[in-house]
Amino acid sequence: MTAVVLEGVSKVFNAGRAGEVTALTGVDLTVASGEFVSLIGPSGCGKSTLLRLVGDLIQPSAGTVTVAGKPARTARADQEYGIAFQQAGLFDWRTVQRNVELPLELRGASRKERAERAREMLELVGLAEFAGHYPAQLSGGMQQRVAIARALAVHPPLLLMDEPFGALDEMTRERLQDELLRICASTGTSTIFVTHSIPEAVYLSDRVVVMSARPGRITDVVPIDLGERGETTRQSPGFFTGITKVRKALRGDAMPLVSA
């Protein structure tokens, strides 16, 4: 069973009009069930666009997107995925807790269940004592963590995350990386994760998808095999090998590495 299949997907914005942009072209990508895939590439190479296509928030100009064995549209209707955008996108009239409860509310969860799940998720992202605050009272990184809690709250079979840890300090970031891996492993969640950090991509992923811009496309896929992540993983030689491979792929094969 595969979580996501993209076949020959292209996306052209404003086709045939002024300001036509080819955001993605000829994208083929398969994400296996339970697999963790990172997208990395220069700004504007279409990473967010790719996530939006998988989430059926925009439609491809060509090609097909299949999620959980269904067309993306059906998968969205069946709420097969949870998404955390590049910006937190919290509702500023709702408290932190009620923001996290929103997707549960829309699924018709009971009040008690919602409160419990929201608590649990806020604890996870370290914001339990801010449950009653409003988004405007939080820092950018805290808002981002609320958005992550909101995406995780429904335990979706597929997680789409767009630079979720971008605004976080290094310590929190590493802790949340481990939490995310733990959740994904224990619930069998498949994940597509956009990041600008090579070490983050390598640490988290089973495969790192390297993209390049103009036009946006996949240039390389780097498999990572670090086994079980733990205390020592970030110092292991395998980790650094992975980083080197991804960096090389990002630079393009034509450009030789000057030094390791």
Binding site: D56, G89, W93, R107, A136
Partner: protein
């Protein structure tokens, strides 16, 4: 507490400034008014045109006609009569405005087709409209209940009140960021859920300014409607009646005007209070 104190001070201060301006101008102005190039630019200040503030206030205590009710009671009753038209017109107008805003937000076609008419509706002069509405009303009845003149006044109040709500709420409903709409889409939320969970709450900052305008418009509509249709019972009617006695009893017409102004203030106060009550439940940083 502090806030309430400041509010009371503000209201008192405004009243004092008003009285000082009135009496000050009356003291220094030309009794025959100031005429520039054949146009009177400042009003006459004699007691017939501008009675003293205390004359007007004491007039409230005297009977309307010899042996009748004191004038404050008459004005109060007239204001309450008008308040019915204002309140029903405001609520109905608000609902119509909200409905139109939701329709226009939902369907681009409707927005394009309807918005020009919504704007056009407000450019029709009220004075021209009032007799038309009164005329239509005369041929209507609600079941067996015949159409009452105050209902025509209510319709005019509504006609003015719906506009700010329709325009303000349309902006409010369209205010959520694209990312918020995408989020609701990702939850497979339908149109109704998106309206209730996202668009309506997001539009509250637009709602209350719109409601304040609508309240003011409803009062103006009702009073002007009463004046132009001569509806019996309302404060607008008192303004006409008393102004006919301006030469013999100049203070009288001002009591009716103060009554109409107080009505406007009371309605604005109610809207302000509800905004305060709603706002108190929400912290804004």
């Amino acid at each position: 507490m502090n806030r309430r104190g400041r509010l009371v001070l503000g209201v008192l201060g405004a009243a004092v400034v008003g009285v000082l301006l009135w009496e000050g101008y009356k003291a220094v102005g030309d009794p025959d008014g100031t005429v520039l190039f054949g146009t009177r630019v400042l009003p006459r200040t004699d007691d017939a045109a501008m009675p003293h503030v205390w004359t007007i206030l004491s007039r409230f205590g005297e009977p309307e006609l010899a042996g009748g009710h004191p004038i404050w009671l008459v004005v109060l009753q007239a204001c309450l009569f008008t308040l019915r038209s204002v309140a029903i017109g405001f609520v109905a107008g608000g609902l119509v405005g909200l409905l139109l805003a939701v329709l226009m937000q939902r369907l681009r076609v409707v927005e394009r087709g309807l918005l020009p008419y919504v704007i056009l509706s407000q450019t029709v002069p009220l004075i021209a409209l009032a007799p038309v509405i009164a005329g239509w009303g005369g041929r209507l009845s609600i079941g067996t209940y015949p159409w009452q003149p105050w209902m025509s006044v209510t319709v005019i109040a509504m006609y003015l009140a719906f506009f700010p709500v329709a325009v303000g709420m349309l902006r409010g409903l369209q205010s959520p960021a694209p990312i918020a709409e995408e989020l609701m889409r990702s939850y497979a939320a339908g149109w109704w859920q998106t309206l209730v969970k996202l668009r309506l709450p997001a539009s509250t900052p637009y709602l209350f300014p719109a409601l304040r305008l609508a309240a003011a418009a409803a009062v103006v509509g009702a009073v002007v409607g009463e004046i132009s249709m001569g509806t019996r019972g309302g404060v607008g009617r008192l303004v006409i009646e008393y102004s006919r006695e301006a030469t013999t009893d100049p203070a009288k017409v001002f009591t009716a005007m103060i009554g109409a102004a107080a009505l406007g203030l009371a309605v604005a106060g109610v809207v302000g209070l509800s905004e305060f009550l709603v706002g108190r439940r929400r912290v804004r940083a």
